[in-house]
Symmetry: C2
Subunit: 342 residues, 2 copies
């Protein structure tokens, strides 16, 4: 007789212990825990008592192996410090905190290759769902998502060709709306200032360009961008560059609110009147834009809601209830404020 491996697990009670104590089969315990409706009231109570007494907690790793499905949501974002994604995450977390799903978070650093690597790590784990930011996956990433065998939600943007589901809004339209607003307010030499210039920023730029061209105001020199990661500091630098480059600049549409804030501070420092001499519009509408002096016009994006809805859609898909429309556009809202109130 070989002695068993003496609980290398560390002595925690197993489902067999509960089954023995409750006088039922192990499988009935399993069912009582996962599908209480399929076990009689009587046994359920007995089992619950045994569970409580032993302090039994199912082993998630054993579960995952046996059922070929881990109770994990894989989430991939391009940045942890960009507060836009932080709010998407907050939405995801808030929607998942009542469930038993754990969240595995990956940081792609805006890199397609890193995204591939992370999907390669996440996939074999058989997550319950995957939520990824953006719609510009590499072909390899796309294939990995398609073969993941779980619901996939692409967030932050919308597009014509979802891997599975999508929740977001149109960055092109956002950029266009912001620019049109500035034109409407009487600005003419409106610069575009952008950092990082990831695909979403590119689309905002395209929206800016479309609006400027439609008004006959487009001039390539008005555009100042850099691939460098965005920051308030960088906003100041880029604004200085733009001022040095373009005579008569009378407004700027900023890629995002960090940049806009840098521009605003530089205007203060250089005693440039906002909105009189220079108008400023940001993107995302962070909390502080409303408080800034002068308050800054921005495009309010539904970041938190995107997080919430992405989880709701994934959960529905897991439950077998796929939505009619796999692509949801949550839109955006132009917040008119002092910085463009000429």
């Amino acid at each position: 007789m070989t002695k068993p491996r003496s609980r290398r697990g560390g002595g925690r009670p197993t489902i067999a212990d509960v089954a023995r104590k409750a006088g039922v089969g192990a499988i009935t315990v399993s069912r009582a825990l996962r599908e209480p409706g399929r076990v009689s009231e009587d046994l359920r109570r007995q089992i619950q008592a045994a569970v409580d007494e032993l302090g039994y907690v199912p082993d998630p790793n054993a579960r995952a192996l046996a059922s070929a499905r881990a109770e994990v949501f894989g989430v991939l974002v391009p940045s942890l410090t960009n507060s836009v994604f932080a709010e998407v995450l907050r939405g995801i977390y808030d929607s998942l905190s009542d469930s038993s799903y754990r969240i595995q978070l990956g940081n792609t650093h805006y890199s397609g290759l890193e995204e591939e690597r992370l999907l390669q790590v996440f996939g074999p784990q058989r997550p319950a769902a995957l939520i990824v930011a953006g719609i510009d996956q590499t072909p390899t990433s796309r294939r990995l998502l398609e073969t993941a065998g779980c619901p996939v939600v692409q967030v932050m943007e919308t597009g014509p060709d979802p891997v599975d589901m999508m929740v977001g809004f149109s960055h092109f339209d956002g950029g266009k709306a912001a620019t049109e607003h500035m034109i409407e307010m009487g600005y003419r030499r409106i610069g575009f200032i952008g950092a990082r210039m990831d695909p979403r920023s590119q689309r905002r730029l395209a929206g800016y360009r479309a609006a400027m061209e439609a008004a006959g105001l487009f001039d390539a020199r008005l555009i100042t961008t850099t691939p460098v990661p965005s920051s308030v500091t960088l906003g100041r630098e880029l604004f200085r560059d733009a001022l040095a480059k373009v005579a008569m600049l009378d407004g700027v549409f900023c890629n995002n609110d960090d940049i806009a804030l840098g521009v605003l501070f530089e205007c203060h420092r250089a005693s440039i009147a906002v909105p009189k001499t220079i108008g400023i519009t940001g993107f995302n509408d962070l909390d502080m834009m409303e408080v800034a002096f002068p308050s800054v016009t921005s495009i309010r994006t539904p970041r938190y809601e995107i997080g919430r809805l992405s989880v709701a859609m994934a959960l529905a898909a897991i439950a077998g209830k796929r939505p009619q429309e796999p692509v949801v556009d949550l839109g955006f809202e132009l917040k008119r404020r002092e910085s463009t109130a000429r």
Copy 2:
């Protein structure tokens, strides 16, 4: 003969497939992958060839079950949107991106109960290490951490009684240094403005109080706090409250930089001269404080470094190399800027 469950895993190659193809035992494949040094050069090459050809990827769930250890770092932070924790996370991620560890992130919402719940979820998974923010765990949480059977690193603060290891700095000293600086710069009626008032904020307040009392300047009416979550907007509100309450207020030490920014904007709006009429000091030294106009004095905290070091310590502990000194104080730095340059 019963037919096997026909690869309910989904047809992915298993270690047995690799072993067969390479003409070795399964265990040798396992070793070649985990401890290459213990397998001969020859077999290692053969096995690698088989792995490549089949596209074999080990099943992390099976691994976790068999070895009673998941390649997962559990990380618990109180907030996702507070950029302070975002930077700690960035440090953690950057230090872990070369390894095969996955990261499971929990959001405690500054709640001890939620922390307990998350530890109860993380524990049974047998993570490779746990990193938790703060040192004020509930007794239950503390017990869960102690019995987790893996390295534990408490981050953001230091204290006398680590569960296992600690990386952080003294918030009391930070608050004291900031206040002393303002006193030194000639401010006398220095208010304390704080939101959220989590344990770390409380300690900053205690530091403020110690400095004020030492200088004979303390007055309880100078303190304006709220349990409401911190934001730039709230900074403005609290500052207004403080102004209404305290005659002759000539400076404010803010709980954090969001609050400080709200104060700064309100000063602009109300045409209060900074630093002449009111001096402002923040806490954390976010990127934007240097760019703000006027630039804002703040306490620079080593957030990113805390993330990096916490992982390094955990990794070392996993490898059996526990540090001599389990508690590491990374300090902070007072950044003197225009907002207090009277």
